[in-house]
Point group: C2
Chain length 255, copies 2
């Protein structure tokens, strides 16, 4: 039995609060693509046939568990990673969010309980895929799926991803969250591609470069790209301390 797919499957063996869950939209970025980590869910239909579909990593909380810690636990069980950027973004509590028969049946099968309403707190996590342990995720029936190729999912998980992406886009416009998805050193071109992919638009190269280098948070390194067919570009790093210092004095109206 997998660890990752089993967060909920293990629930029957321990005490849970069957009204409250957390779900994690784990965004990863690699080879210029935005992906979401999903796990396989197995269920049995009325004729006794087994099926599989995909769901977000998530779980009920235990009676004494802090929500943030539950989200971190799920993330760690699935990826083996600690200290990942994790942000609570929205609560999903629609009275009908659990109404499909296969979802009700799956909950009964995995928890032993008749559960009709669960309010779930959604988090998004940001992972630089190349630095995470891909093998671990694969071992646990977890799969990175391209953001625009996500199939129908369990429960309202497609809607949760859609909203999570919206929150990520908003954050990207206003905060330096994008660096969580990049390696520690990156080129301006890589940064621009990240923005273009997540915001799903084309940005003007010159303007982007000017804006980016106009902040004081990007520090040019002495190192350049190697083995590229074009003129090698300098690497940069994000200086969080400078950002935090300047941020204090930042007053909006750039909105």
């Amino acid at each position: 039995m997998s660890t990752a797919g089993s967060s909920a499957e293990k629930s029957s063996a321990r005490s849970i609060n069957p009204h409250i869950s957390v779900d994690c939209v784990i965004f990863g970025f690699s080879t210029n693509q935005l992906k979401v980590l999903l796990i396989e869910r197995a269920y049995t239909d009325e004729s006794g046939n087994r099926h599989r579909d995909l769901k977000l990593p998530g779980d009920f909380i235990t009676p004494d568990e802090h929500l943030d810690r539950a989200a971190a636990r799920i993330l760690e069980e699935l990826t083996g990673l600690h200290d990942i950027y994790l942000r609570q973004f929205e609560v999903f509590g629609h009275p009908n969010r659990i109404s499909r028969k296969i979802d009700l049946d799956w909950l009964l099968e995995t928890t032993g309980l008749q559960i009709h309403r669960v309010v779930t707190t959604a988090y998004y996590a940001l992972i630089n895929i190349s630095e995470s342990n891909r093998d671990f995720a694969i071992k646990n029936n977890a799969r990175w799926i391209h953001i625009s190729r996500i199939p129908p999912l369990a429960f309202d998980h497609l809607e949760i991803i859609r909203r999570g992406l919206k929150h990520l886009q908003e954050a990207l416009r206003n905060e330096p969250v994008g660096f969580e998805l990049l390696p520690a050193k990156f080129t301006i071109r890589q940064l621009q591609t990240l923005y273009e992919v997540i915001l799903d638009c084309k940005l003007d190269n010159r303007n982007f470069r000017k804006k980016v280098l106009g902040t004081r948070y990007l520090v040019q390194l002495d190192e350049k790209q190697a083995g590229v067919p074009h003129k090698p570009a300098y690497f940069y790093r994000f200086d969080r301390n400078t950002y935090m210092r300047d941020r204090k004095d930042y007053i909006g109206f750039n909105f």
Copy 2:
């Protein structure tokens, strides 16, 4: 019995989900002050004496109630106002957030249930006090309390207000939410004061004016202040349509 203070008090008479609640931090702005609308809670101590303290307007949800709708219901029951700016900002689910005896006793007294853990979804609302019906709020044991003079509150409500203010400050830096707290027409000076009060800082007049008028969303009206001892200033209004159009093309890195 009051309507406002009674959201939870009425719970015993109807079916509730005793695990999940919503709480509203209702921010109001008037005479250059940021205030929060709080309601009186009555409780009986061990010696049978009645006491009163303050709490956020909030309630358990009913079994079939949507979270957003529960928040709007609480707001309307309390103020009589519809269509108020209301935003979900955070979930509070610490396992120990309900641990003080008076809080446990009050829940027992008002719901008839032994309740030990409630996960609450917090919303903030923004109200221009001068345009709201102050009498209604007063009738219902609700009181506007200055943000820096809030006494100890029930449950973790002081912490919820603290976090709500933080979210409001962040929103103010990045989005035109401030206009919700102002009359439809306002002077640049009024707008600046709103920013200074909420962000708790002093802004440079010239810079602020320049930034504000640099956006295309502020439209100068033909009307000026009347009966002021200084040179009367022009009124402005916020043009949401222009904002929404321009926002689509806005890419961050002004952070």
